[in-house]
């Protein structure tokens, strides 16, 4: 997994609340193999009309070209557990989403793919959105070590679960951690099934 330490990048203000994972990647694209790249499916139906023409969505205006950060309002990534939503963001080039709250499953999926869900207060989200709109170049710095977002001469703190922070900083993989506990897992399994054999469906 790629490590996330510090990112200095262009940011795209979305200003939308409740951006669900059906928006992030519509279901009809999910049977495609990942090897094709999922970036072009990101927020597809908000970005493209019936003939594939651009609808002028913020991601597609020249000012936000190459954005690696998205800033949104509350409850980003709500809904379906589809990890393909994270694949779409990642393959597009997004490495961090800043919002006042995230869907739990989305946030977990994000970290497992190296993408940072940075939680800010609702007031700070509004301030960042407003600053990005008026900035000459909509650019900001996300520093995971200090858990700070820097924009112009302002700094905003963000929160993230401390374990997830370490995973992102170190690029840790869950499976490597789990394997260290193989003996404890085997002992737990044996004990559980001995105490209640009916747990194993016949």
């Amino acid at each position: 997994m790629e490590r996330f330490i510090r990112l200095d990048a262009r940011a795209c203000p979305l200003g939308l609340a409740n951006v669900d994972t059906d928006q992030l990647i519509p279901a009809r694209f999910m049977s495609r193999p990942r090897s094709e790249g999922y970036g072009r499916f990101l927020l597809h139906d908000l970005r493209f009309g019936a003939d594939g023409q651009s609808l002028g969505f913020p991601l597609d205006v020249p000012r936000h070209a190459g954005a690696a950060v998205i800033v949104a309002r509350r409850n980003f990534g709500t809904g379906s557990s589809r990890e393909a939503a994270v694949y779409a963001l990642w393959d597009y080039g997004i490495r961090c989403v800043i919002a006042p709250s995230f869907g739990d499953i989305f946030a977990s999926n994000a970290v497992k793919n190296g993408l940072l869900p940075a939680q800010v207060s609702p007031e700070d989200a509004e301030a960042i959105l407003a600053l990005l709109e008026v900035a000459e170049v909509p650019r900001l710095v996300v520093d995971l070590e200090s858990q700070r977002i820097e924009l112009d001469d302002r700094a905003f703190p963000f929160s993230i679960d401390r374990v997830r922070r370490l995973q992102l900083l170190n690029g840790w993989d869950d499976l490597d951690l789990t394997r260290r506990h193989a003996e404890e897992i085997a002992a737990f399994r044996a004990r559980r099934l001995a105490e209640a054999p009916w747990l194993l469906p016949s």
């Binding site: 200003g15 609340a17 409740n18 669900d20 059906d22 928006q23 519509p26 279901a27 009809r28 999910m30 049977s31 990942r34 139906d45 908000l46 019936a50 309002r73 509350r74 409850n75 709500t78 809904g79 379906s80 557990s81 589809r82 990890e83 393909a84 994270v86 709250s101 869907g103 739990d104 499953i105 977990s108 999926n109 497992k112 793919n113 509004e126 679960d161 401390r162 374990v163 370490l166 869950d174 499976l175 951690l177 789990t178 394997r179 506990h181 404890e184 897992i185 737990f188 399994r189 559980r192 209640a196 054999p197 009916w198 747990l199 194993l200 469906p201 016949s202």
Partner: protein, 466 residues
């Protein structure tokens, strides 16, 4: 003396293998359901050259993409490939598959409880957010992403941080004609689409005790739409009666031994919840959604919200965009909203009780708009046919189809057309959920049946008993 524990605490504690210094716990998984959409996870397992750790605790169900007509043929080669890949993985790794030709096939969250695979006190996961459904039986059940599915396949465990505990007590009785769907929409509109985020939810109170198992499954199913990590109802006599004799539940003496354990699965008196909310079921009217989030729900006799009367500009902007997408006029009565079609199905509302409630409205009446009925499982379908419910739907003019996720998510091609408006028993009214530019109104099965009869959103109480 041991500290008073919540139901969730008890189930959590019994699954902890180790807890790291940083607070993350490694949990044992009792039941892992996979479906044909889990292909990303199986690819990760293959890439590591590993096998499925516990095939006897792994169950495959073909539901997300399967056709609901002309089975077992699958016309779309891409979908056929996905379903074949699931079958091949089941053979290769040696787990039980509820495939397309299996009489026990259905939607994973209907099949698990129906087969007796989901039991009180178990930890249940699946790569689908509506796994919260299984908590209705007192299980700790939650949806996971593909990376976690792969981790469970390879280790039968998951790393989790213990969520906070939240209780919603609902006292009072639902008015006649109302159902668990109305309760669920009431909860979501009250606390918001992220109101239970980060929390393990327990439902309690007289209105919950009075619910059938089908109703509890609906309520726990929709809890993810309030952002809950999981939702639970303490097992009781309703639970035990539902489980007794289920094909894959413990049988005979083993069932009695299990019941003795399950009776202890209730929150202790004095157990502390991080949040505790009280609601009144008797105050609820039939609810429908008008917007693009499940929290956008209002009583059927209300009017579409007006952005002009909002003081918060962000909220006004949200309303404007939602109304534009939904093609609704600010301030119009919800009962004047005309629908183009109806859908009765999904893991939320396609169990036998749901089909009976819809059929009770449709019996002897004609639908004025087209519609599709897809039972929650092939068993539910067979039972509905034995009760003659299929005839009621067909005679009303609705299409009676096979079981799958169908028009709830549209992956199999059962779609609501662009700009079309659908009254639906499903769980998500997100933009494009039922098809590109489709407009979804969520409501109970009886309310969908009422909308089918009149061709517009309708208070079922005006039709009930008529």
């Amino acid at each position: 003396m041991q500290q008073a524990r919540t139901l969730f605490d008890k189930v959590w504690d019994s699954h902890v293998i180790v807890t790291r210094e940083d607070g993350e716990s490694l949990l044992w998984v009792d039941r892992h359901f996979v479906h044909e959409g889990s292909h990303h996870a199986f690819r990760q397992v293959e890439a590591r050259g590993l096998a499925v750790a516990e095939p006897a605790l792994t169950f495959g169900v073909a539901d997300h993409y399967v056709p609901t007509r002309n089975r077992p043929a699958i016309a779309d080669p891409e979908i056929a490939g996905m379903v074949e890949r699931l079958s091949a993985n089941a053979v290769r790794h040696g787990f039980r598959l509820f495939g397309l030709e299996d009489p026990d096939q259905g939607i994973v969250h209907v099949v698990g409880p129906e087969q007796g695979l989901t039991l009180p006190g178990l930890l249940v996961v699946c790569g689908d957010s509506h796994t919260s459904t299984h908590g209705a039986l007192g299980a700790y059940a939650f949806g996971i992403g593909a990376s976690e599915v792969a981790h469970v396949l390879m280790t039968q465990t998951l790393w989790q941080r213990k969520p906070k505990r939240m209780r919603i007590r609902i006292e009072g009785a639902l008015a006649p004609g109302l159902s668990a769907k109305d309760l669920a929409l009431h909860v979501i509109r009250t606390i918001g689409a992220d109101g239970a985020r980060g929390h393990a939810l327990e439902y309690a109170g007289a209105a919950i005790s009075a619910l059938s198992m089908e109703g509890r499954l609906t309520l726990c199913n929709m809890s993810i739409e309030a952002g809950a990590r999981c939702a639970m109802v303490a097992p009781d006599a309703v639970t035990f009666a539902y489980l007794r004799g289920r094909p894959l539940a413990p049988q005979g003496e083993a069932f009695e031994r299990a019941c003795a354990v399950w009776r202890g699965l209730a929150s202790d008196p004095g157990a502390v919840f991080d949040r505790d909310i009280a609601l009144d079921a008797s105050a609820i009217a039939p609810l429908v959604t008008w917007g693009v989030s499940p929290e956008d729900a209002l009583p059927i006799d209300a009017r579409v919200p007006d952005p002009a009367s909002e003081t918060d500009p962000a909220r006004a902007g949200y309303l404007e965009q939602a109304l534009a997408y939904m093609g609704l006029r600010a301030g119009m009565p919800l009962e004047e909203v005309a629908v183009d079609r109806v859908f009765i199905g999904s893991c939320t509302n396609a169990r036998i009780e749901d089909l009976r409630a819809a059929a009770a409205i449709l019996r002897g009446r004609k639908a004025t708009v087209p519609g599709l009925v897809s039972p929650g499982s092939s068993r539910v379908k067979a039972q509905a046919e034995a009760e003659g419910l299929d005839r009621v739907f067909r005679e009303a003019g609705l299409e009676w189809a096979d079981s799958g996720c169908s028009m709830c998510v549209g992956m199999n091609g059962d779609l609501v057309g662009p700009g079309e408006r659908c009254a639906s028993t499903t769980n998500r009214n997100f933009r494009g959920r039922q098809g590109k530019d489709a407009r979804t109104h969520l409501m109970s099965p009886a309310m969908v049946a009422a909308a089918a009869v009149t061709g517009r959103l309708t208070d079922l109480r005006k039709l009930a008993g008529g």
